[in-house]
Structure formats: C-alpha cells, structure tokens
Symmetry: C2
Subunit: 402 residues, 2 copies
C-alpha cells in the first residue's frame, strides 16, 4: 500500500485522481499486486472544500500536515505557478518524499535546485508531464538515447497555438478569429498570453534542451521568443504554395560546444511528421548522432493525457526511486546570442527578384517571399537591413526548419 | 570499468562497437565518469578472424571462455537466428550476466523463458533493439504508459516493405520492380521472404502486443499474416483516390478480455503520422485508455540506429539492473481467430454498386473498390462469398486501419 498526496486538485490533479481510480486494478498488477488498490490518495491540498465529493474528507489547506505524514511517500505537485509550488516541492524532497510534477514553470526555473535536493535526499523529482502532456519524451531522452549525442530538438510544444495555426491554414481564418474559436472550445485561456506569445513553449524547450545538453538552461538564456500573434494569413498561404506549413516551434540546437534555444514560427516541409501534426496535438523531433531523427507524437495537454504521465511517474517513484543526476546551470557563454544562430529564414518583401537570393515565391501584387540558405541570423538581418536601406519593405520574417 | 562481450560482429554488432567507440566520452559521463572509456568490449564471438583489425586480439569462437569470464557483466547478443542465440543468452543469464539483444526471432519465440531466467538470476534481459531499430518503444511501453490500459498498437514495423510500398505509391512501380530497387540499395536481402511475406513484422507485433497485454504471445497465435507480394498497383491508386495510403501494418488490438494480432496491408488515412511515414522509416501508434494515441517514429533498422538502442540498453543494464516482470504464455483462448476480428476491409470487385455496401470508389473499366464499416472479419468474408456466388469477382481484399 502506497500513500500519496496531491497538491492542487485542478485539471491535472483531478485527472490524476481519476486515472488512479479508473485503472486501479491494472496499476496494482504493475506494482506486483493482484488487482487490489495499491496507490491511495491520502491528502489533497486545495483551498476548495469539495463538499459532498468523496474528496471532502481528505482535503486540507495545511501543507505541514502532509509534510509530517510519514506514511506519504510521493507528493504530486499539480498546483501551477512558481510559488508556493517550488517551496512545497523542495520541502517535500527534503523530508524524504519523492515529488512528481506537471508544472513546467517550476521545472524550467528551479529544476536544477530540485534535482539536486532530490539527489541529496535519495528520492526522485520526476517531471515527464511538464513537457508534451502525455507523450513520453523526457524519459526516453534520459533513459533510451544515452548512446547518442543529441544534436537538435525541435517541437510543437503548445497545443493551443497549433490549433490556432491549423484553423488559419485549413480554414483561412485570421489570428483573432482562430483565437476566439480556441477559447470557445476551452483550448485557450481567457488570457492566452503565455500560449500565444510563446512563453509556455519556451519553458518546455528549455527543459528539453537542458536534458539533451546536460545543463540547466534558464529561459532568459534563449536567443529568441516570438509567438504567433504577428503571423499573417498571407505568409501561411505563401508557405503553403512553396510546400511548407507554418508551425510554432521550440528549437534547441547544439553548435559545436555551444547551443542556441528559441521559440518562433517556422516553415516546416509538408509531409514530415512535424508538419502533419495538426489541431491541439504536439510532436517533438529529436536528432541523435547515432539514431538519426526520432519523432514523438501525441496529446500535449488535457486532463487525462497529462495525468497519464504523472501517474506513470508516480509508479516509477514507487518501484525504483533512482534519483536523476542533477544538471548545473549553463551559466554565461554556453548559449549563443540570436545573431550567432545558424538558421534559414523566410521573408516577404516588395523588393524585385533581382535584389533577392534564395528560393523565390512570387505572390502577385508586387510581393514575393524568399526562403534563404543557412547562414547566421546576424547576416540574414544585415541582408534585410540592406534591402530596407534601398527603401524596400520587409513585410514579414519567420524561420525555416532546417 | 565495465566489460562486455558481443556475440556476432555483423551489421548490428559492428554498429555497437562503433557507437561505444565514437561516443565513449559522453557515455562515460552518463555513467558518472569524466570522459574516460568506461565500457570495454573484452570479447567478440565470431567465426571470422578480423586479421589486421583492432578486434583481432579479442575475437574468439569459444563461448565458454566468455561465460567463464567473471569480469564480463553484460553480453550483447547480435547473432540473429534462434539457435545458438537463445542457448547462449540463457547460459549467460544463468551465469549472472545481463543480456542485451536485437534478435527479434529469439525474443518472439523465447522471451518468456529468457525474462523468467533473468528474473531468477536477478539480472536483465533487454530487447529495445528488437522492435523499431533505434526508436524507443519498448521502454516507453514498459515504463511510461503504466497508468494506461493499452487498447491497440498498430505500426509500420518493417522498413524494407515500407520502402517498396513508397516506390509503388510515388513512382507507380510494380512490386517486382520496387523490390529490385530495394535490393540494389541494400534495403532488402537477396532472399527477401521474411520481410515481404510479413514474418519480420509479425515477430515484432507479437513482442509489442505481448508487452501491451501482459502475456507472451507466440507468432503462431496471430490471426493473419499477409505480406505485400499480392498488392496490385491498381489498389494503391484506388486507395489514393479515396485519401488513403497502403501500408504493411502489424496490429494488436484488445477486444474486451481477449485480443487479436495480425500483419497485413492496410489502408491508412492520409495526413496521419502513420501514412506520412515513408521510405525505410518505421512508426508505431499506441492507443492508451488515458493518454489517447501516441506515435513513435524513426529509423527502424540500420547499423547505427539499432546499435543506439542496444547501447542504451547496455547502459541501463549497468546503471540500474532491475529485472522486468516475466510474462506468462498466453495459452489457448486469449487470441481471437481471424473470423472473430472486428475490422474494416477494402475490396475491389466487378459487382455493380447496387450489390455493394460501404464507401464506393468508382475505378472505371467496370471495377469499383469498397471500404466497409467495422464488422467481424467472418461476416465480411461471408459477404464477399455471397458476391462470388453471384459470379462477381473479388479482385483484391485488404484491411483498413480503424
């Protein structure tokens, strides 16, 4: 019998409770039992009372009570927000309890501290659910690709923005209209800033890049964070004409002994697994020097898929609590600045073809789009500045997945 | 310092040797070292002499020598074939060495015995490389989806046949021509029977289905094993017209407390991750009752990708040798017979539309194709027999991925 506590009974916390209840017999067998319930939710930390619900008797607002309960071996942190989620997680690890989280903000900000605290106390800090919802990507990176140097990770890491871009592509909607339909369906929050401005994806690519490159990489070290608010229907159409889809990607690429991390709209070649990822789904491409390109696809959010990852982590913490090796902060100098990134870009301009270098897509009305070769972002910017100096307009600029 | 032995220095064994050499510094760090070589190949079992190669001094034809060497903790079995690979693996496990394999024939036939032997001796039998080459799919199934009941696995599990089907689709080649080009490129063996007849994919779907459903499922229990030799260009074109691609799939589906396993050509809806998987790539779709559909994509064969999976398993065996829980043989009664499978089928006929039920695709020349609704395969067969009794021809019959 294993007792756990859930901090925060929201969408994900509620899903965890449901998964444990629905699949109790199967979970029991995976822990060596015979179908009896082996994982019990003993405490729920939440401000609400849950009157009339079977949670009413176990809900508390007193975290200390959970901390003091020696029978609780795993604490599930599904609160969201940096504080007090971080503080509670740290305290739980220090009291010898493993912590399982879906909170990307805490992992991105304080993952280094929490992994170190876990290691020192010989317990686990597990965070598969913080990236890609139910898609197993963190565990494969940590455990299945150990024979590889990871060269690049590029992924659709935010379902809300992918849904909006899908509507813009297939139904020709403008950004504002597509956002409203995402909100009506509950895919986007009333305040969608963290999603549409790219911050959610940025946290996730920093978590993945950190694992891939063996460092803790704070979001402040990323070279670029652009969202989808400035994407014009014209560019989606131009990309389509050239055989590409526009996707908001988080990219982390190794460049010799350094790396760059970014979130920005990218043109992605149609027919690839990433371009084929539509609606609210996520997909993460991982390139290893031995295995080549792998892609992990699935539901990147939602109550039950995310809870699926949390519950698997709970079972891992129970079955074989081997602490992960902590990663040091990358410090200064590891992450390239934007101008140093070797990238391909896309831009739309009114400059005539003779002034342009790369693959040119004629758009009519005196406009054309260009897909460049790979060069440093700094040199691309210089080329665009040179066009502007000749009084040509740069009407849009995005990236192209290499 | 960890000593290993490699049984069989062929394509995969050679890849393992190369990965260990190329990525020695990174592998060292993952084992807590500082970049020094920590994993040493101490013995190679092979009939060839490797004169002049740096392997010459460690190659042997005497397996007993490896078995007796107490300093060897992991044996890598990349021999291929059922015997003596099985016998050597069993002996190694019994002498307290973990075994890592890429040999799907041994895993499919004797996985139950070898997992039980490993458990009894408190060592590991690891076989990630036996399915999907470098794609992590076995470890995610075992470790990351423990919160789910797995409802279905469907995958492109053989790169050779997927390459041939890709050529038939995009270049309109007939089967024989496409096979010859696969052979010229080294993708298909001189004797391609195991690939094109579906046996290779069958072994792999039985391994995956076994893990998903918690049983050892011998290939003899599969309901159907059809290859790609009978696929007509006409059906690829008809499928394309209806928005589908033809793929050779391994399918393992739970039906209440039973299951069916099969390998056969399937029509797969275009735009999905499976349909977008072309050339020699593999992709495995896994449906869990909580997480929904996940897809794992990558290189399903090849020296270095497969070696990537083998070497990751070697590191797992060294770092945390927790034996997997063995699975009992499914026995009789667990696997449905072909006629009981709930499936959608595709067929091509000269019967007039008025005789047909389902989505009808007019093909000209008096022929049409039909995509049916879901029903038992037995009832589909009865419907086709009824058409034949009326002297209509059934010109082709395939399955449709639900």
């Amino acid at each position: 019998m294993f007792n756990i506590a859930i901090l925060g009974m929201g969408v994900v916390g509620g899903g965890v409770y449901e998964v444990l209840k629905n699949n109790a017999a199967d979970i029991s067998k995976k822990l060596g039992g015979n179908g009896e319930t082996l994982v019990t939710v003993k405490h729920v930390l939440d401000r609400r009372s849950f009157e009339g619900h079977d949670l009413a008797s176990i809900v508390t607002t007193d975290f200390q009570k959970i901390l003091d309960d020696k029978s609780v071996s795993v604490v599930v942190e599904t609160m969201g927000g940096a504080h007090p989620a971080f503080d509670f997680s740290k305290a739980a690890l220090e009291s010898g309890k493993s912590v399982v989280t879906s909170n990307k903000e805490v992992v991105a900000k304080y993952g280094d501290i929490l992994l170190e605290t876990a290691k020192r106390n010989n317990v686990c800090y597990l965070y598969e659910a913080s990236v890609g919802g139910g898609i197993p990507v963190i565990s494969p990176l940590l455990n299945c690709l150990t024979a590889n140097k990871i060269e690049r990770i590029a992924g659709i890491l935010n379902g809300t923005t992918n849904y909006i871009l899908t509507k813009m592509l297939f139904e020709g909607e403008a950004f504002d209209t597509a956002l409203k339909s995402a909100q009506a369906l509950g895919y986007a929050e009333a305040d969608p800033t963290a999603d549409v401005a790219g911050l959610d994806a940025l946290r996730k690519i920093c978590i993945l890049g950190g694992i891939a490159f063996g460092k803790h990489i704070p979001t402040e070290k990323a070279a670029i964070c652009e969202g989808i608010t400035e994407i014009d229907k014209k560019d989606i159409a131009a990309a389509s004409k050239a055989g590409y889809s526009v996707k908001l990607l988080g990219v982390a690429e190794k460049v010799e002994d350094k790396a760059y991390l970014m979130v920005a709209p990218h043109l992605v070649k149609n027919g690839t697994q990433i371009a084929s990822t539509v609606d609210v789904f996520n997909a993460v491409s991982v390139k290893g020097n031995m295995v080549g390109e792998l892609v992990f696809y699935g539901a990147g959010a939602g109550s039950l898929p995310t809870a699926s990852a949390v519950v698997s982590d709970i079972l891992s913490a129970i079955k074989c609590p081997v602490p992960e090796t902590p990663r040091e902060n990358c410090g200064d100098g590891f992450c390239l600045e934007a101008k140093e990134m070797p990238v391909k870009i896309y831009f739309r301009t009114d400059a005539p073809a003779g002034e342009l270098c790369g693959e040119i897509i004629e758009l009519g009305d005196g406009e054309r789009a260009v897909i460049t070769e790979v060069a440093t972002y700094g040199s691309h910017c210089a080329a665009l500045d040179a066009l502007k100096a000749k009084n040509y307009k740069i009407l849009a600029r995005h990236f192209v997945l290499k």
